[in-house]
Amino acid sequence: MSAFGNQQNPQLNSHGELQHLLTIEGLPRDVLTRILDNAAPFSEVAEREVKKVPLLRGKSVFNLFFENSTRTRTTFEIAAKRLSADVINLNIGTSSANKGETLLDTADNLAAMQADMFVVRHAASGAPYLIAQHLAATRRDHIHVVNAGDGRHAHPTQGLLDMYTIRHYKTDFSQLTVAIVGDVLHSRVARSQIHALTTLGVPEVRVIAPKTLLPTGIERLGVRVFHDMREGLRGVDVVMMLRLQNERMQGALLPSTQEYFKSYGLTPEKLALAKPDAIVMHPGPMNRGVEIDSAVADGGQAVILPQVTFGIAVRMAVMAMLAGN
Protein backbone atom coordinates (compact mmCIF):
# COMPACT_ATOMS: atom_id res chain seq x y z
CA MET A 1 0.00 0.00 0.00
CA SER A 2 1.20 3.45 -0.84
CA ALA A 3 1.95 5.88 1.94
CA PHE A 4 0.53 8.70 -0.15
CA GLY A 5 -2.91 10.19 0.48
CA ASN A 6 -4.00 9.76 -3.13
CA GLN A 7 -3.48 6.23 -4.41
CA GLN A 8 -3.68 7.16 -8.08
CA ASN A 9 -1.24 10.03 -8.08
CA PRO A 10 1.24 10.74 -5.28
CA GLN A 11 1.33 14.42 -6.26
CA LEU A 12 -2.31 14.97 -5.36
CA ASN A 13 -3.81 14.97 -1.87
CA SER A 14 -7.08 13.24 -0.98
CA HIS A 15 -9.02 16.28 -2.30
CA GLY A 16 -7.34 16.05 -5.71
CA GLU A 17 -5.27 19.17 -4.99
CA LEU A 18 -1.58 19.50 -5.72
CA GLN A 19 0.51 18.33 -2.74
CA HIS A 20 3.86 18.03 -4.53
CA LEU A 21 4.96 18.79 -8.07
CA LEU A 22 7.12 15.87 -9.18
CA THR A 23 6.24 15.30 -12.82
CA ILE A 24 3.70 16.46 -15.40
CA GLU A 25 3.03 12.87 -16.40
CA GLY A 26 -0.37 11.82 -15.10
CA LEU A 27 -1.52 15.27 -13.96
CA PRO A 28 -5.06 16.02 -15.15
CA ARG A 29 -5.52 18.75 -17.72
CA ASP A 30 -7.52 20.92 -15.31
CA VAL A 31 -4.64 20.95 -12.81
CA LEU A 32 -2.22 22.09 -15.53
CA THR A 33 -4.67 24.71 -16.75
CA ARG A 34 -5.19 26.00 -13.20
CA ILE A 35 -1.44 26.47 -12.73
CA LEU A 36 -1.21 28.40 -16.01
CA ASP A 37 -4.26 30.50 -15.09
CA ASN A 38 -2.82 31.30 -11.68
CA ALA A 39 0.53 32.31 -13.17
CA ALA A 40 -1.02 35.23 -15.09
CA PRO A 41 -1.75 37.47 -12.07
CA PHE A 42 1.69 36.65 -10.61
CA SER A 43 3.39 37.96 -13.74
CA GLU A 44 1.91 41.39 -12.97
CA VAL A 45 3.57 41.50 -9.52
CA ALA A 46 6.94 42.09 -11.20
CA GLU A 47 5.68 45.41 -12.57
CA ARG A 48 4.86 46.92 -9.19
CA GLU A 49 6.80 49.34 -7.06
CA VAL A 50 7.02 46.58 -4.44
CA LYS A 51 7.59 43.31 -6.32
CA LYS A 52 6.28 41.13 -3.53
CA VAL A 53 3.04 39.62 -2.29
CA PRO A 54 2.65 38.27 1.25
CA LEU A 55 1.33 34.77 0.45
CA LEU A 56 4.29 32.76 1.77
CA ARG A 57 5.24 35.11 4.58
CA GLY A 58 6.86 33.11 7.36
CA LYS A 59 7.39 30.01 5.21
CA SER A 60 10.85 28.52 4.70
CA VAL A 61 11.72 27.29 1.23
CA PHE A 62 14.87 25.19 0.90
CA ASN A 63 16.52 25.02 -2.51
CA LEU A 64 18.27 21.65 -2.50
CA PHE A 65 20.51 21.55 -5.53
CA PHE A 66 22.49 18.34 -5.74
CA GLU A 67 23.38 19.29 -9.31
CA ASN A 68 24.53 22.62 -10.67
CA SER A 69 22.10 25.14 -12.04
CA THR A 70 22.10 28.88 -12.29
CA ARG A 71 18.92 29.86 -14.06
CA THR A 72 16.56 27.38 -12.43
CA ARG A 73 17.89 27.97 -8.93
CA THR A 74 17.83 31.73 -9.39
CA THR A 75 14.29 31.83 -10.75
CA PHE A 76 13.05 29.58 -7.95
CA GLU A 77 14.77 31.85 -5.47
CA ILE A 78 13.27 35.01 -6.98
CA ALA A 79 9.84 33.38 -7.15
CA ALA A 80 9.96 32.37 -3.48
CA LYS A 81 11.22 35.79 -2.44
CA ARG A 82 8.47 37.57 -4.40
CA LEU A 83 6.03 35.41 -2.43
CA SER A 84 7.74 36.71 0.77
CA ALA A 85 9.12 33.29 1.76
CA ASP A 86 12.47 32.88 3.47
CA VAL A 87 14.78 31.12 1.02
CA ILE A 88 17.72 28.97 1.99
CA ASN A 89 20.01 27.80 -0.82
CA LEU A 90 22.01 24.65 -0.34
CA ASN A 91 24.52 23.50 -2.90
CA ILE A 92 24.72 19.99 -1.62
CA GLY A 93 27.31 19.02 -4.19
CA THR A 94 29.74 20.85 -1.97
CA SER A 95 28.42 19.91 1.48
CA SER A 96 27.10 17.02 3.58
CA ALA A 97 26.43 14.66 0.69
CA ASN A 98 30.16 14.61 0.12
CA LYS A 99 30.60 13.62 3.73
CA GLY A 100 28.33 10.64 3.17
CA GLU A 101 24.94 11.83 4.40
CA THR A 102 22.03 10.15 2.64
CA LEU A 103 19.37 12.07 0.75
CA LEU A 104 16.70 11.26 3.33
CA ASP A 105 18.94 12.21 6.25
CA THR A 106 19.49 15.58 4.59
CA ALA A 107 15.73 15.98 4.16
CA ASP A 108 15.07 14.97 7.78
CA ASN A 109 17.61 17.46 9.08
CA LEU A 110 16.08 20.30 7.10
CA ALA A 111 12.60 19.22 8.14
CA ALA A 112 13.83 19.50 11.73
CA MET A 113 14.63 23.12 10.91
CA GLN A 114 10.91 23.66 10.18
CA ALA A 115 11.15 23.56 6.39
CA ASP A 116 7.86 24.14 4.57
CA MET A 117 9.02 23.34 1.05
CA PHE A 118 11.87 21.59 -0.69
CA VAL A 119 12.85 22.53 -4.23
CA VAL A 120 14.98 19.61 -5.35
CA ARG A 121 17.36 19.13 -8.23
CA HIS A 122 19.20 15.85 -8.41
CA ALA A 123 21.17 13.88 -10.99
CA ALA A 124 19.29 10.74 -10.05
CA SER A 125 15.82 10.24 -11.53
CA GLY A 126 13.25 9.83 -8.78
CA ALA A 127 15.13 11.63 -6.00
CA PRO A 128 12.34 14.21 -5.37
CA TYR A 129 9.80 11.36 -5.44
CA LEU A 130 11.82 9.52 -2.80
CA ILE A 131 11.76 12.58 -0.52
CA ALA A 132 8.01 13.05 -1.03
CA GLN A 133 7.38 9.39 -0.27
CA HIS A 134 9.49 9.62 2.88
CA LEU A 135 7.59 12.71 4.05
CA ALA A 136 4.27 10.94 3.44
CA ALA A 137 5.41 7.79 5.24
CA THR A 138 6.40 9.88 8.26
CA ARG A 139 3.15 11.91 8.10
CA ARG A 140 4.74 15.27 7.40
CA ASP A 141 2.13 16.34 4.86
CA HIS A 142 2.72 20.02 5.58
CA ILE A 143 6.05 19.87 3.73
CA HIS A 144 5.82 20.18 -0.04
CA VAL A 145 8.29 19.02 -2.67
CA VAL A 146 8.92 20.63 -6.05
CA ASN A 147 11.02 18.77 -8.58
CA ALA A 148 13.48 21.20 -10.16
CA GLY A 149 14.88 18.53 -12.47
CA ASP A 150 15.76 14.91 -11.72
CA GLY A 151 18.14 12.94 -13.92
CA ARG A 152 16.63 12.22 -17.30
CA HIS A 153 13.17 11.95 -15.81
CA ALA A 154 11.32 15.25 -15.44
CA HIS A 155 11.59 19.01 -15.12
CA PRO A 156 7.95 19.91 -14.56
CA THR A 157 8.26 23.66 -13.93
CA GLN A 158 10.24 24.04 -17.17
CA GLY A 159 7.47 22.16 -18.98
CA LEU A 160 4.86 24.40 -17.40
CA LEU A 161 6.65 27.65 -18.18
CA ASP A 162 7.01 26.44 -21.77
CA MET A 163 3.25 25.86 -21.91
CA TYR A 164 2.64 29.30 -20.44
CA THR A 165 4.89 30.78 -23.13
CA ILE A 166 3.11 28.91 -25.91
CA ARG A 167 -0.30 29.94 -24.60
CA HIS A 168 0.88 33.55 -24.35
CA TYR A 169 1.83 33.69 -28.02
CA LYS A 170 -0.48 31.11 -29.61
CA THR A 171 -3.60 31.09 -27.38
CA ASP A 172 -5.18 27.80 -28.46
CA PHE A 173 -3.35 24.50 -27.89
CA SER A 174 -5.86 22.52 -29.96
CA GLN A 175 -4.75 24.12 -33.24
CA LEU A 176 -0.98 23.69 -32.94
CA THR A 177 1.82 21.66 -34.42
CA VAL A 178 4.85 21.68 -32.14
CA ALA A 179 8.33 20.35 -32.86
CA ILE A 180 10.85 19.41 -30.16
CA VAL A 181 14.33 19.31 -31.64
CA GLY A 182 17.58 17.83 -30.42
CA ASP A 183 18.93 15.69 -27.62
CA VAL A 184 15.70 14.04 -26.47
CA LEU A 185 17.58 11.05 -25.06
CA HIS A 186 19.22 12.95 -22.21
CA SER A 187 16.49 15.53 -21.77
CA ARG A 188 14.15 15.66 -18.80
CA VAL A 189 12.85 18.88 -20.32
CA ALA A 190 11.68 17.05 -23.46
CA ARG A 191 9.77 14.48 -21.43
CA SER A 192 7.99 17.15 -19.42
CA GLN A 193 7.19 19.09 -22.58
CA ILE A 194 5.76 16.05 -24.34
CA HIS A 195 3.52 15.13 -21.39
CA ALA A 196 2.34 18.72 -21.02
CA LEU A 197 1.63 19.23 -24.73
CA THR A 198 -0.32 16.01 -25.11
CA THR A 199 -2.27 16.58 -21.87
CA LEU A 200 -3.23 20.09 -22.98
CA GLY A 201 -4.56 18.73 -26.28
CA VAL A 202 -1.90 19.71 -28.84
CA PRO A 203 -2.90 17.54 -31.83
CA GLU A 204 0.58 17.09 -33.31
CA VAL A 205 3.80 16.87 -31.31
CA ARG A 206 6.91 16.07 -33.34
CA VAL A 207 10.35 15.13 -32.13
CA ILE A 208 13.28 15.75 -34.43
CA ALA A 209 16.58 14.07 -33.59
CA PRO A 210 19.19 11.62 -34.81
CA LYS A 211 18.45 8.00 -33.90
CA THR A 212 21.29 8.00 -31.39
CA LEU A 213 19.70 10.83 -29.38
CA LEU A 214 16.20 9.36 -29.15
CA PRO A 215 15.09 6.95 -26.45
CA THR A 216 13.58 3.76 -27.82
CA GLY A 217 9.79 3.66 -27.83
CA ILE A 218 9.42 7.46 -27.76
CA GLU A 219 6.44 7.07 -30.16
CA ARG A 220 4.48 5.56 -27.30
CA LEU A 221 4.30 9.02 -25.72
CA GLY A 222 2.15 10.13 -28.67
CA VAL A 223 4.75 11.92 -30.81
CA ARG A 224 5.72 11.73 -34.48
CA VAL A 225 9.40 11.04 -35.01
CA PHE A 226 11.49 12.79 -37.67
CA HIS A 227 15.17 12.28 -38.37
CA ASP A 228 15.28 14.91 -41.11
CA MET A 229 15.04 18.34 -39.54
CA ARG A 230 13.80 20.07 -42.70
CA GLU A 231 10.96 17.63 -43.07
CA GLY A 232 10.07 17.87 -39.38
CA LEU A 233 9.97 21.66 -39.25
CA ARG A 234 7.62 22.05 -42.19
CA GLY A 235 4.51 23.99 -41.16
CA VAL A 236 5.09 23.97 -37.39
CA ASP A 237 3.79 26.73 -35.08
CA VAL A 238 6.33 26.24 -32.31
CA VAL A 239 9.96 25.10 -32.40
CA MET A 240 11.27 23.93 -29.02
CA MET A 241 15.02 23.52 -29.14
CA LEU A 242 16.86 21.33 -26.64
CA ARG A 243 20.36 21.81 -25.35
CA LEU A 244 22.92 19.31 -26.56
CA GLN A 245 23.94 17.82 -23.22
CA ASN A 246 27.66 17.32 -23.72
CA GLU A 247 28.17 16.54 -20.05
CA ARG A 248 25.80 13.60 -20.22
CA MET A 249 27.24 12.11 -23.41
CA GLN A 250 28.89 8.76 -23.02
CA GLY A 251 30.44 6.99 -25.98
CA ALA A 252 30.24 8.13 -29.56
CA LEU A 253 26.66 9.30 -30.01
CA LEU A 254 27.67 12.08 -32.40
CA PRO A 255 30.42 12.47 -34.98
CA SER A 256 31.13 16.08 -33.92
CA THR A 257 29.31 19.21 -32.83
CA GLN A 258 29.94 20.74 -36.27
CA GLU A 259 28.27 17.78 -37.93
CA TYR A 260 25.42 18.07 -35.46
CA PHE A 261 24.94 21.75 -36.25
CA LYS A 262 24.83 20.97 -39.95
CA SER A 263 22.01 18.46 -39.53
CA TYR A 264 20.16 19.61 -36.41
CA GLY A 265 21.22 23.17 -35.72
CA LEU A 266 18.40 25.72 -36.11
CA THR A 267 19.47 28.20 -38.77
CA PRO A 268 17.36 30.97 -40.37
CA GLU A 269 17.21 28.88 -43.52
CA LYS A 270 15.74 25.85 -41.70
CA LEU A 271 13.42 28.03 -39.60
CA ALA A 272 11.96 29.42 -42.82
CA LEU A 273 10.29 26.03 -43.36
CA ALA A 274 8.13 26.52 -40.25
CA LYS A 275 5.09 28.81 -40.31
CA PRO A 276 6.07 32.46 -40.80
CA ASP A 277 4.79 33.33 -37.32
CA ALA A 278 6.37 30.31 -35.63
CA ILE A 279 8.05 30.99 -32.28
CA VAL A 280 11.43 29.59 -31.24
CA MET A 281 12.00 28.43 -27.67
CA HIS A 282 15.02 27.14 -25.78
CA PRO A 283 15.23 26.13 -22.11
CA GLY A 284 18.80 27.42 -21.79
CA PRO A 285 21.67 27.49 -21.44
CA MET A 286 22.17 27.74 -25.21
CA ASN A 287 25.09 26.29 -27.12
CA ARG A 288 25.31 28.83 -29.93
CA GLY A 289 26.58 27.29 -33.13
CA VAL A 290 25.76 23.79 -31.87
CA GLU A 291 21.97 23.47 -31.65
CA ILE A 292 21.05 27.04 -32.53
CA ASP A 293 22.46 29.74 -34.80
CA SER A 294 22.96 33.15 -33.20
CA ALA A 295 20.88 34.75 -35.94
CA VAL A 296 17.89 32.67 -34.74
CA ALA A 297 18.63 32.95 -31.03
CA ASP A 298 18.72 36.74 -31.27
CA GLY A 299 16.09 36.98 -34.03
CA GLY A 300 12.52 38.24 -34.03
CA GLN A 301 10.92 34.81 -33.66
CA ALA A 302 12.88 33.84 -30.54
CA VAL A 303 10.96 34.02 -27.24
CA ILE A 304 13.82 32.62 -25.18
CA LEU A 305 14.16 35.55 -22.78
CA PRO A 306 10.38 35.89 -22.23
CA GLN A 307 10.51 32.19 -21.24
CA VAL A 308 12.84 33.12 -18.39
CA THR A 309 10.54 35.92 -17.21
CA PHE A 310 7.43 33.73 -17.43
CA GLY A 311 9.31 31.06 -15.48
CA ILE A 312 9.26 33.23 -12.38
CA ALA A 313 5.47 33.72 -12.51
CA VAL A 314 4.85 30.02 -13.15
CA ARG A 315 7.10 29.03 -10.23
CA MET A 316 5.31 31.55 -8.00
CA ALA A 317 1.98 29.99 -8.97
CA VAL A 318 3.24 26.46 -8.29
CA MET A 319 4.69 27.36 -4.89
CA ALA A 320 1.63 29.39 -3.86
CA MET A 321 -0.73 26.57 -4.83
CA LEU A 322 1.34 23.91 -3.02
CA ALA A 323 1.81 25.91 0.15
CA GLY A 324 -1.93 26.59 0.34
CA ASN A 325 -2.94 22.93 0.01
Binding site: A40, E49, K52, V53, L55, A320, M321, G324
Partner: protein
Protein backbone atom coordinates in the same frame (compact mmCIF):
# COMPACT_ATOMS: atom_id res chain seq x y z
CA UNK B 1 -39.13 29.14 8.07
CA UNK B 2 -36.74 31.55 6.37
CA UNK B 3 -37.86 35.14 6.12
CA UNK B 4 -38.03 36.30 2.53
CA UNK B 5 -35.68 39.23 2.18
CA UNK B 6 -36.43 41.96 -0.31
CA UNK B 7 -33.19 42.35 -2.26
CA UNK B 8 -32.25 45.84 -3.42
CA UNK B 9 -32.13 46.75 -7.11
CA UNK B 10 -28.40 46.83 -7.95
CA UNK B 11 -28.73 49.18 -10.92
CA UNK B 12 -30.67 51.71 -8.84
CA UNK B 13 -28.06 51.45 -6.09
CA UNK B 14 -25.30 52.24 -8.63
CA UNK B 15 -27.12 55.47 -9.51
CA UNK B 16 -27.70 56.30 -5.85
CA UNK B 17 -24.06 55.60 -4.97
CA UNK B 18 -22.84 57.92 -7.71
CA UNK B 19 -25.03 60.71 -6.29
CA UNK B 20 -23.71 60.15 -2.75
CA UNK B 21 -20.15 60.37 -4.09
CA UNK B 22 -20.57 63.28 -6.50
CA UNK B 23 -19.95 66.13 -4.00
CA UNK B 24 -16.82 64.40 -2.71
CA UNK B 25 -14.96 63.51 -5.91
CA UNK B 26 -12.96 65.64 -8.32
CA UNK B 27 -13.37 64.24 -11.86
CA UNK B 28 -9.84 65.35 -12.72
CA UNK B 29 -8.00 63.80 -9.78
CA UNK B 30 -10.11 61.05 -8.18
CA UNK B 31 -9.35 57.49 -9.27
CA UNK B 32 -11.47 54.37 -8.73
CA UNK B 33 -10.17 50.90 -7.97
CA UNK B 34 -12.71 48.08 -8.25
CA UNK B 35 -12.26 44.80 -6.41
CA UNK B 36 -12.73 41.73 -8.63
CA UNK B 37 -15.29 40.81 -9.70
CA UNK B 38 -18.37 42.70 -8.53
CA UNK B 39 -16.50 45.84 -7.56
CA UNK B 40 -15.09 46.15 -11.08
CA UNK B 41 -18.63 46.19 -12.55
CA UNK B 42 -19.74 48.84 -10.06
CA UNK B 43 -16.61 50.93 -10.69
CA UNK B 44 -17.41 50.94 -14.43
CA UNK B 45 -20.91 52.34 -13.67
CA UNK B 46 -19.49 55.00 -11.34
CA UNK B 47 -16.73 55.95 -13.76
CA UNK B 48 -19.33 56.77 -16.42
CA UNK B 49 -21.86 58.40 -14.09
CA UNK B 50 -19.27 60.67 -12.46
CA UNK B 51 -17.35 61.41 -15.66
CA UNK B 52 -13.98 60.62 -14.08
CA UNK B 53 -10.93 61.36 -16.23
CA UNK B 54 -8.40 58.94 -14.71
CA UNK B 55 -9.00 55.39 -15.98
CA UNK B 56 -10.14 53.14 -13.16
CA UNK B 57 -8.05 50.27 -11.83
CA UNK B 58 -8.98 46.78 -10.74
CA UNK B 59 -7.50 44.53 -8.11
CA UNK B 60 -7.62 40.87 -7.34
CA UNK B 61 -6.89 40.61 -3.61
CA UNK B 62 -6.34 36.86 -3.45
CA UNK B 63 -2.58 37.26 -2.89
CA UNK B 64 -3.30 39.40 0.18
CA UNK B 65 -6.16 37.49 1.79
CA UNK B 66 -5.75 36.56 5.45
CA UNK B 67 -7.44 33.17 4.97
CA UNK B 68 -4.87 31.78 2.50
CA UNK B 69 -3.50 29.36 5.12
CA UNK B 70 -7.01 27.91 5.60
CA UNK B 71 -8.41 28.09 2.09
CA UNK B 72 -5.36 27.97 -0.14
CA UNK B 73 -5.10 29.55 -3.56
CA UNK B 74 -7.91 28.74 -5.91
CA UNK B 75 -8.63 29.32 -9.58
CA UNK B 76 -7.85 32.90 -10.06
CA UNK B 77 -6.97 34.35 -13.42
CA UNK B 78 -7.79 38.02 -12.87
CA UNK B 79 -4.90 40.39 -13.02
CA UNK B 80 -4.58 43.48 -10.86
CA UNK B 81 -4.28 46.54 -13.06
CA UNK B 82 -3.57 50.00 -11.70
CA UNK B 83 -3.23 52.28 -14.76
CA UNK B 84 -2.37 55.43 -12.76
CA UNK B 85 0.28 56.52 -10.29
CA UNK B 86 -0.84 55.53 -6.80
CA UNK B 87 1.70 57.84 -5.16
CA UNK B 88 -0.20 60.85 -3.81
CA UNK B 89 -3.51 59.87 -5.45
CA UNK B 90 -7.07 60.16 -4.10
CA UNK B 91 -8.38 56.63 -4.53
CA UNK B 92 -11.87 55.28 -3.98
CA UNK B 93 -11.93 51.52 -3.47
CA UNK B 94 -15.16 50.15 -4.94
CA UNK B 95 -16.82 46.88 -3.95
CA UNK B 96 -20.30 45.46 -4.29
CA UNK B 97 -21.06 44.28 -0.74
CA UNK B 98 -19.31 45.23 2.50
CA UNK B 99 -19.26 42.36 4.99
CA UNK B 100 -16.39 41.42 7.35
CA UNK B 101 -14.03 44.13 6.10
CA UNK B 102 -11.23 41.61 5.46
CA UNK B 103 -11.36 42.04 1.69
CA UNK B 104 -11.02 45.81 2.10
CA UNK B 105 -8.03 45.39 4.38
CA UNK B 106 -6.41 43.12 1.78
CA UNK B 107 -7.17 45.67 -0.96
CA UNK B 108 -5.56 48.49 1.04
CA UNK B 109 -2.48 46.39 1.75
CA UNK B 110 -2.18 45.64 -1.95
CA UNK B 111 -2.61 49.29 -2.99
CA UNK B 112 0.26 50.33 -0.73
CA UNK B 113 2.56 48.02 -2.69
CA UNK B 114 2.00 50.33 -5.67
CA UNK B 115 2.76 53.53 -3.77
CA UNK B 116 1.51 55.81 -0.98
CA UNK B 117 -1.91 57.26 -1.75
CA UNK B 118 -2.83 60.66 -0.31
CA UNK B 119 -6.27 59.39 0.65
CA UNK B 120 -8.35 56.24 0.30
CA UNK B 121 -12.16 56.17 0.47
CA UNK B 122 -14.45 53.18 0.31
CA UNK B 123 -17.61 53.01 -1.82
CA UNK B 124 -19.98 50.02 -1.68
CA UNK B 125 -23.49 49.39 -2.97
CA UNK B 126 -24.66 47.88 0.26
CA UNK B 127 -23.48 47.11 3.78
CA UNK B 128 -24.76 43.78 5.03
CA UNK B 129 -23.30 44.07 8.55
CA UNK B 130 -21.11 41.48 10.29
CA UNK B 131 -17.90 43.50 10.44
CA UNK B 132 -14.83 41.78 11.92
CA UNK B 133 -12.42 44.72 11.47
CA UNK B 134 -12.70 48.44 12.26
CA UNK B 135 -13.55 49.41 8.68
CA UNK B 136 -16.44 51.65 7.61
CA UNK B 137 -17.59 52.76 4.16
CA UNK B 138 -17.18 56.39 3.10
CA UNK B 139 -20.05 56.11 0.62
CA UNK B 140 -22.88 53.59 0.97
CA UNK B 141 -26.48 54.17 -0.14
CA UNK B 142 -28.02 51.04 1.40
CA UNK B 143 -27.69 48.60 4.26
CA UNK B 144 -29.34 45.42 5.39
CA UNK B 145 -28.73 42.77 8.01
CA UNK B 146 -28.12 39.20 6.91
CA UNK B 147 -27.35 36.07 8.94
CA UNK B 148 -23.88 34.54 8.52
CA UNK B 149 -25.38 31.57 6.67
CA UNK B 150 -26.36 33.78 3.76
CA UNK B 151 -24.13 35.35 1.15
CA UNK B 152 -25.17 38.33 -0.93
CA UNK B 153 -23.62 38.16 -4.39
CA UNK B 154 -23.69 40.60 -7.28
CA UNK B 155 -24.20 39.05 -10.69
CA UNK B 156 -24.09 40.34 -14.22
CA UNK B 157 -26.56 38.97 -16.76
CA UNK B 158 -25.70 38.42 -20.42
CA UNK B 159 -27.21 41.78 -21.37
CA UNK B 160 -24.93 43.49 -18.82
CA UNK B 161 -27.50 44.22 -16.09
CA UNK B 162 -26.38 43.93 -12.47
CA UNK B 163 -28.54 42.16 -9.91
CA UNK B 164 -28.18 40.73 -6.41
CA UNK B 165 -28.66 37.11 -5.52
CA UNK B 166 -28.89 35.51 -2.10
CA UNK B 167 -26.87 32.31 -1.69
CA UNK B 168 -27.39 29.92 1.23
CA UNK B 169 -23.99 28.70 2.41
Amino acid sequence: MPIATQLPDAEMLCVALAEVMRPHVDPATTALVGIHTGGVWVAARLQAALGLKIPSGSINVSFYRDDYSQRGLHANAQISQIPFDVEGAHIVIVDDVLYTGRTIRAAMNELFDYGRPAKIDLAVLTDRGGRELPIAPSFCPHSLSLPAAQMLALEQTDDGRLSFRLIEK
